[in-house]
Structures are given as C-alpha cells and as structure tokens.
C-alpha cells in the first residue's frame, strides 16, 4: 500500500473515531451558549474559541463531524447505487430503454431542483427534530444527485460492452446477467468508487448551502456545512484563523478520499 494511502486511511479513520466519540471528547454540549464569552479566542476552556452565540467551537466541530461524516457518505452511497443501477441498465441494454433512461437523466439535470428543495422544506411539518430534518436533507441530496454519475457509468458500460473480452464471453455462451455481474460490474469499480468519493464533499457543501435556505441542519444541531457559514464574515479571518477549522477538516476529508483512489480510479 502506498504511503499516502496509509496516511489517508489513518486520517479518515482517526477523524471518524474522534467524531463518533464526541460525547466523550467534547468539553461542552454543542448547544450550550456561554453568553458571557461570545466570539472568544482559543483558550484552555474553549480550544477553538466560541462562535457568535458563545458556543464552544471545538465541541460543535466534533458533533458536526458526526452528522457530516455519517450522512454525506450515506447520501453518496445512495446516489452512486442509483447511478450504478440505471447507468448500467441503460449502457448494457441500449435501444429504447437506454433512450428512456438517458432522457430521464437529462430531465433530472435540467430541472430546477433548488425550487423543489425549497418546496419540500415548506411542506415538512414544523415540529420535526433537527436530526430528522438533516436526514431528510441528505436523503434528498442522495436521490437527486445520481444523474450526473449515471452519465459517467453509462459511458463506461458502453465502452466495456464493445470490448473484446465481453464479445468473447458472449461468444462462449455467457448469460447476460452473468456477463453483467461477473465481467462488467467489477470493471466499473474504479468509476463507481471515484463517483462515490467525489460526491461526499459535494454533498457536505450542498448541505451548507441548503442550510442557508432553511433546508438543512436546524439549530442548534451543528454540521460542518453549517459551521462553514462562519466564513461568510471573511474580514476577521486573518485575525481569527481558528475559524478555518471546519474548512481544514473538510479539505483533509476530501484529500483523504482522493488519496484512497488508485491511479486507475483517478483516471476513471
């Protein structure tokens, strides 16, 4: 195993472990407002200072990591599975079925999902818990984020379908489902893995944007996306660089997932 992949595994597992142990490691409850110390600088009480309502930023970062590191990969898995299923069927079956599926992909890519998401939020009951609200958000992202990946999968399957080894397999009497399961799907792994890994940071950022529109993590529950909103006030960043902590962690996660990709997967 390459050194950078080992480091990436170490970083990702370390982050997941720390965030999962937030209840043990966080010095304060993520919602607790220390009103005498809003916007405090880092100290032994507040390792990363406090936010504008006096909440401990380090605790919020740990709890926020739980939301982002669990739900974003779950949404990415959902969208990749949908993309794999539909892209493979379209690419392998071809003909009318492929046209219908790819037409649906085009439709999904052209629809104004932004407005749909706003409408969904407006119709949700008001008394749902913050956790339910954020789960719904990521589920929606997963359901809506498959179309672009399906195009990539479709192109990959089309290329494999006309390759020599598939032709040989079919000439040897290999059944369609067996060709798909044994010969095509394993060769799609780099594509699917790449799509899965690039979706995770995209979903974390999408959640940050949706939070600003009211369709994301409801207060007081934190997520890395909602913590990134602090960077809107960019003027104080040079004097308060600790506010960059969620961005640094997000970059580490993105780098970690990228480093896990092999050369073939990166090419895919």
């Amino acid at each position: 195993m390459r050194v950078d992949r080992k480091i990436a595994w170490f970083v990702l597992l370390g982050l997941v472990t720390v965030c999962m142990c937030a209840q043990l490691l966080a010095p304060a409850n993520y919602a607790k407002q220390f009103r005498e110390a809003p916007n405090a600088s880092p100290s032994k009480h507040f390792l990363l200072g406090t936010d504008d309502l006096g909440r401990d930023r380090f605790s919020r970062l740990l709890y926020g990591g739980r939301v982002s590191l669990l739900l974003a990969p779950a949404a990415a898995l959902l969208s990749t599975c949908l993309a794999a299923g539909l892209g493979t069927i379209a690419g392998y079956a071809g003909g009318m079925l492929a046209r219908i599926i790819m037409g649906t992909v085009d439709l999904f890519l052209s629809l104004p999902w932004f407005f749909l998401l706003i409408t969904v939020r407006a119709t949700l009951p008001l008394d749902v818990s913050p956790m339910t609200s954020v789960t719904v958000t990521f589920a929606l992202l997963g359901f809506l984020g498959w179309a672009a990946s399906a195009r990539v999968v479709y192109a990959g399957v089309r290329a494999l379908r006309t390759s020599d080894f598939i032709t040989t397999a079919r000439a040897c009497g290999c059944l369609r489902w067996r060709t798909l399961a044994v010969h095509i799907m394993p060769n799609l792994k780099p594509i699917l893995w790449a799509q899965f890994l690039v979706s995770i940071p995209a979903f974390i950022l999408a959640e940050a944007n949706l939070t600003m529109l009211g369709l994301g993590v409801a207060e007081p529950l934190p997520s890395w996306g909602s913590l990134l909103r602090e960077l809107e006030n960019y003027d104080n960043l040079s004097s308060q660089p600790w506010r960059l902590a969620p961005l640094v962690l997000l970059m580490l996660v993105v780098w970690g997932f990228q480093a896990l990709l092999s050369h073939d997967e990166v090419m895919a």
């Binding site: 407002q33 009103r35 504008d52 008001l126 008394d127 409801a218 003027d235």
Partner: protein, 542 residues
C-alpha cells in the same frame, strides 16, 4: 499682470470658501438602490426604490424635518388645518418653476390632488387621504392660496403632505417636470439611474446661491449588500443606509469616521403566537397561546439584554412596545421592557396550571410544552435571535424548534394556512403617526397577525384597542390622540399579543468626502438633506 491678478482673486475666493465653511458646487453623489424602481410617477409610488427617486426629485408643499420631526415650509410658506380636521389651506410660494420652466401655482396642487384621489390609479399615497365616502374638493383661492376639503376628518392631515410630490398641470413633460432638487436624466434598467441637478430648483443657501450643490446623483441598482459594502470601502459609493450590526462593526474597525449610529430606529423585531381559531394546530396549544399569562411568562423568560448584546453587538435597544423611543411624540415613556425573570415566568405559568416535571414544563392535561418558531431563512440576526430564545425557553422547561422558511412559504403560513405555532419577524415602520398602524391593531384587519380578520373582537382588550384606535383617528387634538394611543401601548404591553424584543439602531455609512450629512433614524436616513449635501472635491478626487 492682469492674468496674475485674476488667478489671485480666484485663489483668494477659493480660500475664503474653504475657511468660511462654504459648500462646494459640483460632483456626483453615488449610492445604491436595492431594487429596480417600479415607477417614476410620484402618485403611484409604493416601493422603496421609487420612494427614493420621489424624495430626490419631487417638490412637496411641506417637508418633515427628519431630525426635529417637525413640519417645515417647502412649496407652501404657510398652512392651516381647519378645526374639524376636514380641510387644509396652503399659502403657496411665489416665483417657483418646474424643472422645464413651467411656472408652479395652485392649479398644479389641484391637479395633483385630483390624480392622487383618482380611484382608477390606485395610489397608495392617496389611500392615506381616503377618510370617507365623497369627493375631495380643491379650491383655488385668491392671494396664491389653495384649500383642500375632505369628506371626513383626517388625523395628522398636514404631515401626510410630506409624501405628496406636486405634479405639473400644464407641462408637456407631465410627471417628468419636477420641483425637487434633482430630475431623472438617464435610466438603464438593471444598472443605474442618473439624476441631474434641477436648474430651476427654488431653494437657495444662506448666501443666496441656488441649491443643490451637487451636479448629479448616481443610483446604482445593487441588491447584494456584501457588494454594496465592498464598493463603499473602495470609495465607489458615498452612502449606505440601514446597515446591520455586523457590517457596522467591521466598518468601525476599518474606517470609524464613516460609521454612524443614530440610535434606536423605528423598526422593531417581535414574535407572536398563532391564536387563529381555524388554524390546524392542536387545541391544547391554541389554549396556551390564547392565555395572557402564558404569553407574559414566555416574554419574561426571554433575555432581551442578551439579544441586544450578543446578536446586535449593543446596536439595539430592548423593546417595550410597538413604538420606539425614536418616535419622540408618540412613544409612551411610562413603559419599560419586560425584565428577564425566570422565577416570575414560572409563577405565571403555575397560575395557569402548568407545572415543571423533571425539567419539562407540562400543562394541566400533562402535555409537554413544545412549540416551533418560524422565521425567514437567510436573515442571520433573526436566526440567532430564535436560537437564543430557544435556549432561554429551556430554562423554563419549554422545548422550542427553530424553523427557517423562505419568505413566500412563511407568508403563506402566517396569512393563509395559519399552520404555525409562533413567528419571529420584524416590522419596518416609516411613519411617525399611529394611523399608519391601524391595519395592525384593528381586530378586523388582515395584518392583525396573531388573529387576523376577527368578525368581532374576541377579547375585551382587543375591543378596547379597536375603540381607542378609532377614537385617536377621529380626534384632531394631538394631546387627546396621544392619550388614546398611550393607552393602546399599555394594553399591548399588558397582554402581549406581540412579544416585542428589540428596536434595532439606525446604522449607516457615510463617506468622509461628503459634507452636510446628518444621519437620522427616519427614512431616508442619510440623504434627507440631499439639496444641501456637497462633496469635498479634492478629497473625492484622491
């Protein structure tokens, strides 16, 4: 030698001007409109952008001094309201011309009133003058006087003319002929609007020089407040009105001489509970929300001083009621904001049968007290206020969910479906007179937010408010009107249909290159003296 002498004279004149405080002529004032102006017809104005253009271009009979809050003569040198409050007589200024040279006279006032009251035009400015069924009669009197008679008395009649820009009855340019300091010269939709100096403007400065000092005003159409602030810092624009506290503090740290805090504004932030009988919320919740003691307990459990200190960085004042201390005449000085007192809140709640059970407040039927607060998404200060209220409520065992919705969805809930528990919003108040709040306080009104369009007042105190509001609207004596409206404020303070939280301060940014600017709390905060504002040209050029 002669050239040398002339140069010396010019130099001496310039030096005299700079030392004697003379304002310089010339230059272009630049600031932003946050939306496209919908109309340039002053009669049809009902949006902020058009109102700005009307303020800068329109000539009015009387002008409200935004600093003293008193009326001052403008195109009318004198005016008198009849004892029954139905008629007003103006003595018009002589020798005044519109921007195209057409002379101004009583005919123009009569024409403007006719346009204003034309039902086909649906003028929102005209709505303020609709006091009853019947015609508005304008009579041209001798000695350059004009009298306007209304079918029924109108309280605060003279102040309403601050919004009426006089139009020309005879000019072929129609509404483009104006009496204000500037006139519209160029409009590029989506980009900018340029107002040029009106060479026929009637006003002169103390030394007899014709105003305005500025050559032009450029209004850039810019919705994004971040970009607006960035342009201000670069010196591309000279003014920013209605800053929020975060922008203001950033400006203070970078350019303290540009930041102006004029004190509490007329705007308020408040929350209210849904008391609509037909709303789809559970009946036990409606029972809580209808209880005055419940509302007062919630109000007492909110720490307003923390909201002021943390959310607004002390650029706000805890609110006692609908009228801010900025409204010098109508503010009821006897009222104080409800103090933060959890023990008092729990006492009030226990008197209504609520009990604290293992940190959870329950009603007499055992329901845990939980409600959601909706507010508009994207408004950081309201989201922070709601989050702080959420924690304050935990202190009395109440669980609160904060839900941010886009504005249309929020309006749908509070005006049509009534599917919400509590709402946190703000009221932008531009008018000093309580008559502008009739649509909030009358129980039959659509904007009676906690329970709109009641067929008859559902509580005795709402009936009392109805009576007092009608009484103040039909009385001409300002002191009697004040007594009635003071009583309304006291009833609202006592019953808290709206839980008033804070009044934001009027914060603005003014470039140091501008002279003659006194930011105030009333709209328009910074450019209300546009005709006497000037640019220090050397500094502006740098």
């Amino acid at each position: 030698m002669r050239t040398h002498l002339r140069s010396s004279t010019v130099l001496i004149f310039c030096l005299m001007c700079s030392f004697s405080g003379f304002a310089q002529f010339g230059g272009e004032l630049r600031f932003c409109l946050h939306a496209e102006p919908k109309t340039f017809n002053p009669i049809l104005v009902d949006d902020d952008a058009s109102d700005t253009v009307r303020f800068l271009t329109g000539g009015v009979l009387v002008r409200l001094n935004r600093s003293t809050q008193e009326l001052e003569p403008n195109l009318a040198t004198a005016w008198k309201v009849s004892s029954d409050g139905r008629a007003i007589t103006f003595t018009l200024r002589e020798g005044v011309s519109f921007s195209d040279g057409t002379s101004f006279g009583a005919d123009d006032v009569a024409f403007t009133m006719k346009q204003l009251m034309d039902p086909a035009l649906h003028s929102s400015t005209g709505d303020s003058f609709r006091s009853g069924n019947g015609e508005v009669v304008t009579k041209v009197l001798p000695n350059n006087k004009v009298s306007i008679t209304f079918p029924a008395p109108i309280a605060g009649l003279d102040k309403l003319f601050d919004q009426v820009a006089i139009m020309s009855a005879h000019s072929p340019l129609k509404e483009k002929a104006v009496l204000g300091p500037f006139m519209v010269a160029e409009y590029v939709p989506g980009s900018h609007l340029i107002l040029k100096r009106n060479l026929n403007y009637w006003k002169t400065d103390a030394s007899g020089r014709r105003l305005p000092y500025l050559d032009s005003v450029r209004l850039d159409i810019q919705q994004n407040r971040d970009l607006e602030m960035m342009r201000f810092r670069r010196g591309e624009i000279h003014l920013v009105n209605a800053l929020d506290s975060e922008y203001f503090d950033r400006l203070v740290s970078q350019s303290p001489q540009s930041a102006h805090d004029a004190g509490p504004s007329m705007d308020s932030e408040e929350m209210w509970f849904n008391q609509v009988a037909a709303s789809p919320i559970p009946s036990f919740k409606r029972e809580w929300f209808k209880s005055t003691n419940f509302r007062r307990a919630i109000s007492s459990a909110i720490n307003r001083q923390d909201l002021v200190r943390i959310v607004f960085n002390n650029h706000a004042t805890a609110a006692a009621g609908p009228v801010s201390p900025a409204n010098q005449f109508w503010f009821n000085t006897k009222l104080q904001p409800h103090p933060f007192d959890r023990a008092a809140a729990l006492k009030l709640l226990s008197s209504e049968g609520f009990r604290l059970d293992s940190g959870v407040l329950r009603d007499h039927l055992g329901h845990p007290v939980e409600f959601s607060i909706i507010t508009n998404s994207g408004n950081k200060t309201r989201e922070r206020m709601a989050t702080m209220i959420q924690q304050d409520m935990e202190g009395i065992g109440v669980k609160v969910s904060v839900v941010t919705l886009d504005f249309p969805a929020l309006i749908e809930r509070i005006t049509r479906t009534f599917d919400y528990d509590a709402c946190l919003l703000g009221l932008v108040n531009t008018d000093l007179d309580p008559n502008s709040q009739m649509n909030i306080w009358l129980s039959s009104s659509e904007n009676h937010q906690w329970n709109p369009q009641e067929k008859s007042p559902e509580t005795p105190w709402e009936a009392e408010i109805d009576k007092l509001m009608r009484s103040q609207a039909s009385t001409m004596d300002p002191n009697k009107r004040k007594q009635s409206f003071d009583k309304v404020q006291e009833i609202v303070w006592e019953n808290e249909p709206f839980i008033y939280l804070i009044h934001k301060n009027a914060l603005s940014a003014v470039s140091p290159t501008l002279a003659g600017v006194t930011p105030v709390v009333l709209s328009p905060q910074t450019f209300w003296q546009a005709d006497t504002m000037s640019l220090r040209l050397e500094r502006a050029a740098k």
